[in-house]
């Protein structure tokens, strides 16, 4: 098992290099960080812009920029900066990703990791509860509708969950704001507050989470419910379930201990695939509810072509995907003793 884990970790290293190279090329082609100055009131002169480009290293070929991203530029010859009286030489200060320096945000000029640190906790505060609620509800509802297949309740649950599933998230979000905040106030009810994370108290945080969590659960739930329902149905038709019933076990016992435990295995794969993306946040939901999360940070960085921040976010996600894939495989052996890796 240890050898298996070691092998997987070693395999992932070249993979991450390839991913980072592709992403670096991709993020660099998304736009120009200096474009912000075009419509501004005091446009910097051509020379000022040249200095910015040189300091950020954007005047170099893309392969060289990638190399600097990886191993820094503090060992390179100094950069020539044009000034009124000749040239100034400035030494590079970047140490590169491989030495723990993820670069400086083009926009705020602070380390890009600082920007992630500010946003990651809030993303998790929003995403983890939504995900847990989604999975717990989906398990309960999925089992319920599998056991009562084609009943009135099964049909009703299926219809409602598909109704939300087919709705675009921005519509659900704006509709919920409209109903629970704007209209509630007109009807004389206490409106639910939204926008941001509240005034710093826990109660206020919870209140501000209500609408975004509701929206995230509403649109995600149906997928999981259908998944659990179908994998439960498959198991419920197996011979060993008939055997369990024939033994005289109570129906609840059969469903919980024999059916669900076996049906849960594919669910672990699904969760393992989804978990790393909790770190990515929810772009639309975060935007609409003004939640200071990672999804918004990514979009805002995209709009300003802030390559270091985009790269940091994407690399955090890539590492998370690799790690969670490995964890999923390990959890498999724990859940199902028949599985062995070598």
């Amino acid at each position: 098992m240890t050898r298996y884990i070691l092998r997987r970790v070693l395999q992932s290293i070249p993979l991450l290099f390839i991913i980072s190279f592709i992403l670096f090329n991709f993020t660099n082609s998304l736009g120009d960080p200096l474009a912000i100055y075009a419509e501004s009131r005091n446009r910097p002169s051509a020379r000022d812009r040249e200095i910015i480009l040189k300091r950020l290293g954007l005047d170099r070929p893309i392969l060289e920029q990638y190399l600097i991203w990886l191993v820094g530029n503090d060992w390179m010859p100094p950069v020539e900066i044009p000034t009124d009286n000749g040239v100034r030489y400035e030494r590079g200060t970047r140490r590169g990703v491989l030495r723990g320096d993820l670069g400086i945000s083009f926009v705020t000029r602070r380390p890009s990791w600082t920007r992630i640190e500010e946003r990651l906790p809030w993303t998790l505060v929003l995403m983890i509860p939504s995900y847990l609620i989604t999975v717990v509800l989906a398990i309960a509802i999925g089992i319920f509708s599998a056991v009562r297949q084609y009943s009135f309740w099964d049909n009703l649950i299926t219809s409602v969950s598909f109704f939300f599933y087919s709705m675009p998230i921005f519509f659900v979000a704006l509709l919920s704001i409209y109903i629970f905040a704007v209209q509630f106030k007109r009807w004389g009810l206490e409106p639910i507050k939204w926008g941001g994370t509240g005034d710093g108290t826990f109660a206020s945080l919870l209140q501000h989470m209500v609408l975004p969590v509701f929206c995230l659960v509403a649109i995600q739930l149906a997928g999981y419910v259908r998944f659990i329902r179908s994998s439960m149905l498959e198991v419920l038709n197996q011979d060993y379930i008939r055997t369990a019933r024939a033994k005289g076990l109570a129906e609840g016992e059969v469903v919980r201990r024999h059916a669900f435990k076996n049906a849960a295995l594919p669910l672990v794969t699904l969760i393992g695939l989804d978990l790393p993306f909790l770190l990515a946040g929810a772009v639309v939901t975060e935007r609409i509810f003004a939640w200071p999360g990672m999804g918004r940070l990514f979009i805002e960085s995209f709009e300003r072509a802030d390559v270091p921040v985009m790269m940091t976010i994407l690399m955090v996600l890539s590492v998370a995907v690799v790690v969670f894939q490995l964890l999923t495989d390990i959890v498999y052996t724990w859940l199902d003793p028949r599985i062995r890796y070598s």
Binding site: L30, A35, N42, I81, R110, V125, G200, F202
Partner: protein, 566 residues
């Protein structure tokens, strides 16, 4: 552990994590009462040092905490803030040759931390702007003009320029110099790092001169400001200002309608009707700030680097026909709620606008006639053509929704006179990219480009004419840093533009500005659509009386010390 227990464990874990985080983030709590104004911003400022940001929202946040030497009112009247009086030739503040300014500060000024704010801070600020190591992108105009700065006494400093400078506001007032750096904070940073460019103080400033001080910045969420008791006009009546960031304008408007926001400075023209309808207590104010939305023609020549525009655009008759074929009146009325009106002048809504030139009317028949004259005749498919070339133009703009609406309407209007346009839209970061970085406009990947230009409202030296339309600035392989993306060149206009910048005679400057307007009306390198207002909305139930909001060219909060909440 059973599944149930595992879930219980996970829930407990998340809940405790959330509580820990909420505890860490515990902030001064605020309530939306008579002491706290809640403002909604669509974007988060990127930098709190005014010399390093080109973002309007950063400028606005900065204007709350940094006092300018002087400001402009809503009626474009100058008001002294930190200076005792506005320098002029009459009061001896400006030398006979306009090359020397002597500026006097009010006595007894203080920074928010109680340290005296003196002419030494000003001298330091100008020195920092001048030093290329700082690369202050918003200080370029001052740096290029300044020869020396000297301290006269504790409240007086003198600026010497390399050429006559008729406009003090470009160099000492807002918008040219809208922040002053506290020497006691920034000098140690400069001595340590050799540059202020990456200073932590730019991101988390600690010392202020404006009506408010920045108390807390929750990244991605809000900025909390508290009244500055040391402000030159006294402590403002409103004790706290909370700026909350709503990146989605629909939810921002909903928060405004629901009363969660008291004041929003960024209502888009196209959204004015629905914002007004969403809550009867909202008052909308439009102030013109010198931005003009225009269609720019690609007149670049083949072979110099950038892609040349459609050959038809080279013929001035075609450009004039396009202007006649666009119904700008309907666009401003129907899409922009009548908040603005069409213009031909690049000096629109400024004292230098030549109103006698009038506005080209909507005249599709005249447009069709001009196009016929130019040899572009209707083809069998309804699209004009000449020598086998179709009159089909690439018309692009940014991804802003209101701009895309205008695109669609203009497409239909041009179709009526047999001009076909292909609509394109790009993210701003690609659209306005530099030549080296393959920017859409800079490399000529368009025939018609829609974006804004800006004009100073307080003097006739027009930055758009000077940079984006001058011969010397045409972008090419030889001049990749050029700001003129149209390829338009008219030496006569460049000469007039130079007069507006340097002449010491106001009448001569005005005549030159009129000349520029005439040339642009006749040559049509760009079709001005309408001046863009800055649209503010505020909730009247929260304020005592009506509030005065400053011009977009200066500082919207110029009168905030007199605002009062119920």
């Amino acid at each position: 552990m059973t599944i149930k227990n595992r879930i219980r464990f996970a829930l407990a874990f998340v809940l405790s994590l959330a509580m820990v985080l909420a505890g860490i983030g515990a902030a001064p709590t605020y309530a939306q009462d008579s002491s706290t104004l809640v403002v909604g911003f669509a974007q988060e400022p990127d930098n709190m040092n005014g010399f390093y940001s080109a973002m309007a929202f950063a400028q606005w946040a900065n204007d709350l905490v940094q006092a300018s030497l002087y400001d402009f009112t809503d009626e474009l009247q100058p008001v002294p803030v930190l200076i005792a009086e506005i320098p002029s030739r009459e009061n001896g503040g400006i030398s006979e040759d306009f090359k020397e300014y002597t500026v006097k500060l009010k006595p007894g000024l203080k920074w928010s931390d109680g340290k005296p704010l003196t002419a030494r801070d000003l001298v330091f600020t100008y020195e920092m702007i001048e030093n290329p190591a700082n690369n202050m992108v918003q200080g370029g105009a001052i740096r290029d003009a300044l020869e020396a700065v000297e301290l006269v006494d504790e409240t007086t400093f003198r600026l010497k320029f390399n050429a006559p400078k008729p406009f003090p506001e470009d160099l000492i007032g807002s918008p040219g110099l809208s922040s002053i750096l506290p020497e006691h904070v920034f000098r140690p940073i400069f001595e340590r790092d050799g540059t202020l460019e990456n200073a932590e103080e730019n991101q988390n400033p600690t010392v202020f001169s404006g009506p408010y001080v920045l108390r807390e910045w929750k990244r991605g969420e809000s900025m909390l400001f508290e009244a500055n008791p040391n402000y030159v006009f006294g402590e403002p009546k409103i004790k706290r200002v909370l700026i909350r960031f709503f990146p989605d304008t629909d939810s921002q408007y909903a928060a405004l309608a629901a009363g969660q926001l008291d004041y929003v400075p960024n209502v888009s023209e196209g959204d004015l009707p629905r914002v007004a309808a969403s809550n009867p207590n909202l008052k909308l104010v439009t102030v013109f700030g010198g931005y003009i939305e225009s269609l720019w023609m690609n007149l670049q020549e083949e072979g110099k680097g950038p892609r040349a525009g459609h050959p038809a655009l080279k013929d001035v008759r075609v450009r004039r026909a396009l202007r006649l074929a666009i119904d700008r009146e309907t666009i401003t009325k129907e899409l922009l709620a009548g908040a603005t009106s069409p213009t031909d002048s690049i000096y629109s809504r400024s004292p230098f606008e030549n109103k006698e030139l009038g506005v080209t009317p909507y005249a599709p028949e005249a447009a069709a006639k001009l196009l016929d004259e130019a040899g572009w005749t209707l083809g069998p498919d309804g699209v004009r053509q000449k020598d086998g070339v179709k009159l089909e133009l690439r018309y692009s703009t940014t991804t802003a929704g209101w701009r895309n609406n205008i695109q669609a309407v203009i497409q239909q209007q041009l179709a009526k006179v047999g001009v076909s346009v292909i609509l394109e839209k790009y993210p701003a970061s690609a659209y306005f990219g530099t030549y080296a970085n393959n920017g859409i406009l800079a490399t000529g990947q368009y025939d018609i480009g829609q974006f804004a230009n800006n004009t100073a409202l307080t003097n006739p030296a027009n930055v758009t004419v000077d940079e984006a339309l001058s011969c010397a600035q045409i972008v090419s392989d030889d001049n990749p840093g050029g700001n003129n993306w149209t390829g338009f060149c008219n030496p006569e206009m460049d000469a007039a533009s130079n007069v507006t910048k340097t002449s010491l005679d106001p009448k001569e400057r005005l005549a030159a500005a009129y000349k520029i307007q005439e040339i642009l009306r006749d040559e049509v390198p760009l079709i001005n659509l309408f001046p863009r207002g800055d649209n503010y909305a505020y909730n009247t139930t929260r304020f005592v009386g009506t509030i005065r909001i400053g011009s977009g060219v200066g500082n919207q909060w110029f009168d905030i010390m007199n605002w009062e909440l119920k």
